[in-house]
Amino acid sequence: MATTVGVVVFPGTNCEMDAVEAVGGLGGGGRLLWHGDADLGDVDAVIVPGGFAHGDYLRPGAIARFSPAMAAVARFAADGGPVVGICNGFQVLTEAGLLPGALQKNAGLKFLCQPTTLRVESTDSSLTGSAELGAELSIPINHFEGNYTCDERTLARLRDEERIVLRYVDNPNGSVDDIAGVCNEARNVVGLMPHPERACDDLLGSADGAVLLRSLLGAA
């Protein structure tokens, strides 16, 4: 049976169908999960997709993290289930405390929508298990608040524990230590600002995101 990936939809989410399409193209089955539902059903993995959950009011992710679905996602993650937050989904996961740090506004004042090159820094995570260490992937970003920051102690831990799973080759937004994606201690929860679901077909300019989502399906 196809691996089922639950894709959480908040009011203001706008990348959910991209995620469902991408997962479907890789042989999985994407299933939309409404944020107000406290039960994820029998999903094998979860994607918290991009967009502007609750209009990004107060802070990106600040209100979304109180949704009933997020309590269920936290339980799913605690049980070892693979969870990936993409862009706004990364912001939601940091606000929810499932990942460390925060995403501040980009250095240089601009909203950024462009291809970026990412380097795979660890293959020990639910999003990078099928990738090659050191591989460079072309995957687009589309954000205003994607500048990853955390205190020095947290950064030291992330480095020591090799939890920085993806770095920008040419840092576009000012993120500390070129961080594009990090994972939690158990390595089953990963957040990244770039959009792998938008880079799963050569027609879109790159299919390099497929190896990441294939990793997620493999981790499920």
């Binding site: 107060l58 600040a62 740090g101 925060a102 506004k105 920051t149 205190d151 000012g174």
Partner: protein, 83 residues
Amino acid sequence: MRFTVLVDISLRSGISDPAGATIERALPVLGYAGIEGVTVGKTIRFTLDAVDADAARQVAGDLTESFLTNPVIEDAVVTVEPA
């Protein structure tokens, strides 16, 4: 008792503030000189019921820390006064 609460939120030192930087950059064009250190934050106001000022400060402080701010990037000053 009813209290009014003002939460004054600012970005922590070193956190990117493009709104503040953009305003500061525009000032010379408008003919203003010598203005520095422009920062943009936000204020949140509400009223709440509590038995006394200490209890009101406790609730407002907890709410500010757990929801209204993200301590990784923001600081806040909470002011509580009788309504």
